[in-house]
């Protein structure tokens, strides 16, 4: 349950953050940000429903979130999207560590989706999406 709540909290932050980033993007990037914003809303709703089905009150969204840097340009908006996806991917890697097979599969599927979005914004791939240096050896 703690891992599900952490993933939900990351999705709340992503929904907020994509709203900020999208306002500073145009054309194809704006469209991509909008699509990703919708994807995070859907993921948020699925996690909330999953928690409720387990008789757990889902964590609410914060009123506002501290951004890693002010978003005033395309560059900083894209950097924010990368930051949000990395945070979301780490939270879903936490779900993959859960023993429950359905939760683990959900985590793996969303980790993949987040890595794909991050690769678009980053313009490249990373070897270990969602994992921190300390989890590697």
């Amino acid at each position: 349950v703690a891992a599900l709540q952490a993933a939900l909290a990351a999705e709340h932050a992503a929904v907020y953050g994509y709203g900020v980033a999208g306002a500073h993007l145009h054309g194809r990037r704006r469209a991509a940000a909008t699509a990703d914003w919708v994807a995070h809303q859907q993921a948020r709703d699925e996690l909330s429903a999953l928690l409720r089905s387990r008789a757990v009150q889902p964590v609410p969204a914060a009123v506002a979130y501290q951004l890693p840097e002010p978003v005033r340009s395309t560059r900083t908006a894209v950097a924010l999207a990368v930051h949000l996806e990395d945070h979301v991917a780490a939270a879903y890697a936490g779900l993959v560590a859960v023993r429950d097979a359905a939760v683990r599969a959900l985590g793996a599927g969303q980790l993949r989706a987040s890595a794909l979005r991050a690769a678009y914004w980053r313009g490249g791939s990373v070897a270990f999406p969602g994992l921190q240096e300390a989890q590697l050896r």
Partner: protein, 172 residues
């Protein structure tokens, strides 16, 4: 990147015990081969998959279309080498069995015809990445949490490789 001696030792012990026990009972007792733990089988399959992918990339890098594709393929190949290193770091093979199950060189790539064009080479790699990404998730529910995280992460990385190869191939 750091070593985790406790886990390495644990895997080594788990793999070595059946051999040691069988040794005490003479040759006859050796007949049924020890069955590796399920996560060892999953890990070995993942390692074999990475080796195959690396061999495919090396194949293209040695082929006639190498020059134009290096900018796209080199970073992806480098990530596969990181995947392989992480996976191998989690596999401890008992002494004596090492040479049998971990060949020094990747197996020769399957007899695939040389791709006719750079686009065909990219498409073939993209299919291989998709298959490898899916295969990594088949054993996900049977392995310990930290290995599950590594497999899911590598699977996600390979899904992004597939997307990058598609973009580079111009068929997006």
């Amino acid at each position: 990147l750091r070593a985790d001696p406790s886990r390495r030792a644990l895997l080594a012990a788990a793999a070595a015990v059946p051999l040691a026990a069988a040794g005490c009972r003479g040759v006859g007792a050796l007949a049924p081969p020890p069955r590796p733990a399920p996560d060892v089988a999953v890990l070995k399959a993942a390692i074999a998959g990475e080796r195959q992918l690396i061999a495919r990339y090396l194949d293209v890098a040695a082929g006639q279309h190498a020059a134009g594709l290096a900018d796209v393929l080199d970073p992806l190949l480098a990530e596969h080498r990181q995947h392989l290193a992480q996976l191998r770091g989690r596999l401890i093979v008992p002494r004596g069995a090492a040479s049998a199950s971990s060949p020094a060189h990747p197996p020769a790539p399957s007899a695939t015809a040389s791709p006719a064009s750079p686009a065909a080479a990219l498409a073939a790699l993209r299919r291989a990445e998709q298959q490898a990404s899916a295969a990594l998730l088949t054993g996900l529910s049977t392995v310990p949490p930290s290995l599950a995280q590594l497999l899911a992460s590598i699977s996600a990385s390979e899904a992004t490789h597939s997307a990058i190869l598609r973009t580079a191939g111009g068929s997006r």
